[in-house]
Symmetry: C3
Subunit: 204 residues, 3 copies
Amino acid sequence: MNLLYTFDLLGTAAFAASGALAGIRRDMDVFGVLVLGLVTAIGGGTLRDLLLGDIPPFIFKDETYLYLSVAVSLLVFLFHRRLAFLTHPLTYFDAVGLGTFVVIGTHKALAFKLGFFGAVMMGVMTATAGGMLRDLLSAKVPMILHKEVYASACLAGGALLYVLQRSAVPPDAAALISAATVIILRLLAVRYNWSLPRAAHRTP
Amino acid sequence: MNLLYTFDLLGTAAFAASGALAGIRRDMDVFGVLVLGLVTAIGGGTLRDLLLGDIPPFIFKDETYLYLSVAVSLLVFLFHRRLAFLTHPLTYFDAVGLGTFVVIGTHKALAFKLGFFGAVMMGVMTATAGGMLRDLLSAKVPMILHKEVYASACLAGGALLYVLQRSAVPPDAAALISAATVIILRLLAVRYNWSLPRAAHRTP
Amino acid sequence: MNLLYTFDLLGTAAFAASGALAGIRRDMDVFGVLVLGLVTAIGGGTLRDLLLGDIPPFIFKDETYLYLSVAVSLLVFLFHRRLAFLTHPLTYFDAVGLGTFVVIGTHKALAFKLGFFGAVMMGVMTATAGGMLRDLLSAKVPMILHKEVYASACLAGGALLYVLQRSAVPPDAAALISAATVIILRLLAVRYNWSLPRAAHRTP
């Protein structure tokens, strides 16, 4: 699964960059920027491992994730003006991370014998909890709860993986197809500015 | 303990509804409303199981809680205007959930050999952490920390259960009496608008 | 390690007082003040134990921490005007807590076979996560992410302990030197108003 690991690190770097940028926007100091980058990149997977009881969490078994997150956050802190040309590619890397994290999370939850709902929830959480923590630490309502088709892409990918793993499709193909589904849905959502319905709650 | 399970589901549904309503009020999209409903309904029990080391948490052993929470949240999202007549009964269901969750949490903590303080704290946390998470995700100071006699009712019920379990009272009666105490205190607090004292901290 | 335990309790009391004061400032009721005191005092160590898989967390094995935190918070709630003369000493106690918590956290993480990054991160988290939770529950951006040299002192102490534990220095001396480093750095930072660099992100 070397490809998956590469994607995983790419996604981790993209998430760390998004966290570090959020810290800079909130006028945090360098420590705050590093914490936001770290939490965004590894928060989802860490929460997943806590809930599955896979202790210590993955970040302590392979510290690559920690060093990578902090290195990326530090680069963003130092050179964020000169890295502005990366904003556009970042959307792609972020989508790759999203797809990869959903597949890793759902797959791991199924290996831990969780049911359909639990496994898909774990996949979505792996991909989205880091971003929620980032927004909470910025004292903002998590972006994912009111903006953009972000979680729905994850839900679709997680559910698809569940189905494919129970079919004749080879495991690697199932993982690839599910991740690709998340990535494509996410990029289409960005491209066409899709958003989810809201309740019409305002009283006149 | 079939009655307890019924009460548990009733409380879960009431908590999910309160979470979903909070999401609608914050203008979240349908995913956000589902997440808030889910988190409010199952957050307290999940945190309790994490702290007790009962992994995976109850929600993954019996997915009924997950499906129920999401179904209720979805109904609230779709029909919240037409469900306005349920606001009043919701207070009662919410109180039933409060009492049930306190008893379940304290009882479980005692079974895991926690001491008096730890067990009562677990009971209160089971009943209140979901609502705190709901408020955090709405970027608000948790309601329970500054308004209403909500936690005190839980504290009283948890402490009572601790005492009764060490007395000659049969276990089922102990659970029922403790839950009823929470429910009655909570409803009296709503009815008579009780609130806890604050520190007079304003400087002139 | 009787000295360490004494320092630990002193730090716990100082952290509880800082949490309770934050609750009073946010106009919380007595329950809210107790919760903020408790969470600030024990949040970091509890999160550490969750992540290390040392379940149940230390607070349930020795309830002294719980009783002490609540007692201090209650005293602050009742007498915070008359305790104003303690504001200055509180800075010292808080620094003692910081140093002690870093050493305990890093030491425990190393005993659980974590690597360099993981162990230092656990030390910093033990000392700072409680304060972050306090600020989150107050719906504020955690102070530590944008103000003061607080985390850096912890980082230095944790890294130092890692190095010393691998050297010929006796364990007790290693702990003492590391804790003292944190405390002195912290007090110097307060005294000379040090702060960390920020990214110059404002566009003209």
